[in-house]
């Protein structure tokens, strides 16, 4: 029973972590809270749905939708953040412009898809149950979890072992110094937005697949949960976002298992509030991206 619950927590936590990685990456590099992240999560799931409906095989559809999410991320930066960066507008104004982009993306999704829930496959995705000792899961869940974890390791590799990753960390640490040392700021920031939004989009697609459902309010659930995750792990911390994602996944799964499902969100935000008050830097410190 507990083993099964922990496994369920792993599935939930993986998606939370993936979503939060994009959130925290943008915060770590630019010090802005990107409230359009959840809209990209949602629109990517719709894009994958459309491509599947057009007859593309699922993995290809998902891959294309993830790339599209990344491109939307770059556009988001060009439209909503880059102009503000040039005039040093602080952190509040970009927050508002990201709300503006979220409204626009939501409106486009509503115009194209309407308010009805869409299903990747009518009648449910084909998923074989797998029994492994005390736990049961489906092959689909296994693929979702493996994809999420694979993407996390991919991000970790890019940040640690590539020139791009080095540049991203340099910009996160000190934008001016990085520019002086020859890092192309705008390119690095664009790449950051591509990666962050692609991860957010991947999280949306995996969630849509897990429930075989995509709808306009897909992002509203995770938007604030993502904040709880990155606060728990420490704003800007990559490791923190992953561990925070799984921790919140465990808290929420256990809350539901123990009959507290109605209070689940209060528990999540209660934990977030307590951490902010007691240890604002989170478990892994606020600047972990900069020293990773």
């Amino acid at each position: 029973m507990l083993a099964q619950q922990l496994l369920n927590a792993l599935f939930l936590g993986a998606v939370y972590a993936l979503f939060a990685l994009g959130y925290t990456l943008i915060f770590g590099v630019l010090d802005i809270l990107n409230l359009a992240h959840a809209a990209i999560y949602m629109i990517a799931a719709f894009a994958a749905y459309s491509l599947v409906a057009d007859g593309l095989p699922l993995p290809l559809a998902a891959g294309l939708a993830i790339v599209m999410a990344g491109v939307i991320g770059i556009l988001l930066d060009r439209v909503a953040f880059a102009p503000l960066r040039r005039r040093n507008a602080g952190t509040l104004v970009p927050l508002i412009s990201s709300i503006g982009v979220a409204i626009v993306i939501g409106a486009i999704a509503r115009a194209v898809y309407g308010i009805d829930e869409r299903h990747f496959v009518e009648g449910g995705l084909d998923a074989t149950p797998i029994h492994l000792g005390p736990v049961t899961f489906t092959s689909l869940e296994a693929i979702i979890l493996a994809t999420a974890i694979g993407l996390m390791f991919g991000l970790s590799y890019v940040l640690r072992a590539t020139v791009l990753g080095r540049n991203i960390r340099a910009v996160a640490q000190d934008r001016v110094a990085a520019a002086l040392l020859g890092v192309d700021l705008e390119r690095t920031i664009a790449a950051t937005f591509f990666i962050a939004s692609a991860l957010g989009g991947a999280a949306g697609i995996l969630t849509g697949l897990e429930y075989n459902a995509v709808s306009l309010d897909l992002g509203s659930q995770i938007e604030l949960k993502g904040l709880a995750v990155i606060i728990l792990g420490g704003m800007g911390s990559i490791t923190g976002a992953v561990i925070g994602g799984f921790a919140i996944g465990i808290v929420e799964t256990l809350a539901v298992a123990y009959g507290l499902s109605a209070w689940r969100d209060a528990l999540t935000f209660g934990v977030m509030f307590l951490i902010l008050v007691a240890r604002p830097a989170g478990i892994f410190g606020a600047r972990a991206l900069r020293s990773a």
């Binding site: 915060f27 010090d31 809270l33 409230l35 439209v79 909503a80 102009p83 503000l84 005039r87 507008a89 952190t91 509040l92 104004v93 927050l95 508002i96 412009s97 709300i99 503006g100 982009v101 979220a102 409204i103 626009v104 939501g106 409106a107 486009i108 509503r110 115009a111 938007e223 604030l224 904040l227 709880a228 606060i231 704003m235 109605a262 209070w263 969100d265 209060a266 935000f269 209660g270 977030m272 509030f273 902010l276 008050v277 604002p280």
Partner: protein
């Protein structure tokens, strides 16, 4: 068009605009002290429920119900102010958003608020003159406050907390007071809302509403109370004006929001601030 007919057709919108202006003022009070505290919607929600319950279950007359509701919202703000006293910027914003979510979940789950279905049949005795009378009173009170030493302390706290401390400003007190004053104003708005629309659900004052209030203030000009009111009024009317665009309403709102943010750097208040008003 005949004014009477116009009012009859738009009375709900007119009432909503007045309440929105109050909500914008309430956030503007904490923004002026440099605090990005995003719990105004939650304070308004607490007051709306307190006021509705006081009137429905305890038979409070309107004025008493509103007074109790304002006190409850101010108390909630005071209770929140202490634990978050050390948080700044985005961290304060996130903590207060979390507070708002907790309030929403509680409203969703306890019996006295009617749970997710909310409360209906709240005595519908708040009229348009009451709403605008309240707005006028709050505006006058804020204008009067702006002429006191407190306003100077608020401005110093916003510009530079350490410098403010250096010249003897009790920064903690300024932050506390601005949250509580803002909470009380939000409480007034929430109570008026409950009695003007006689129907109340937990989502009425959720994060989406908080986002709206923040947008009004920033569009208007972050540190300008007059700008906050203008932002609230314009953005509340906007969806109605572009009603002919029906399907593109949301899209147009989003684009206008982006346009103002990108092309009017200090919000709408800069349109008149330059002329020294």
């Amino acid at each position: 068009m005949n004014l009477g007919t116009f009012y009859a057709q738009h009375s709900r919108l007119i009432d909503q605009i007045g309440i929105n202006a109050l909500l914008a003022l309430s956030l503007s009070v904490s923004l002026q002290a440099g605090q990005l505290a995003l719990a105004q919607a939650a304070f308004a929600g607490i007051a709306a429920y307190v006021s509705a319950i006081a009137a429905m279950q305890f038979g409070f007359p309107l004025a008493a119900a509103i007074a109790v509701a304002i006190a409850a919202a101010a108390l909630a703000a005071a209770a929140l102010a202490y634990p978050v006293r050390k948080l700044r910027g985005i961290f304060l914003a996130i903590a207060t958003i979390g507070f708002g979510e907790i309030v929403r979940v509680v409203a969703n789950n306890v019996d006295i608020t009617g749970g997710a279905e909310g409360l209906s049949g709240i005595p519908n005795d708040v009229t348009t003159p009451i709403i605008y009378g309240a707005l006028l009173l709050v505006a006058l009170a804020l204008v009067a406050l702006a002429r006191t030493k407190f306003a100077l302390a608020v401005k110093l706290t916003r510009e530079d907390e350490n410098a403010a401390r250096g010249v003897g400003v009790d920064v903690g007190m300024v932050r506390f007071a601005s949250l509580v004053i803002g909470g009380a104003i939000a409480g007034l708005a929430g109570a008026l809302y409950a009695h003007a629309f006689y129907f109340l659900t937990p989502t009425d004052f959720g994060f989406a509403r908080m986002e709206q209030i923040l947008v009004w203030c920033v569009i208007g000009g972050v540190t300008s109370p007059a700008g906050a009111v203008v932002g609230a009024v314009l953005l509340s009317i906007l969806p109605e004006v572009i009603r002919p665009l029906a399907d593109y309403r949301e899209l147009t709102s989003g684009l206008i929001l982006l346009g103002v943010i990108l092309f009017v750097p200090n919000g709408l208040s800069m349109l008149w601030a330059k002329r020294g008003v």
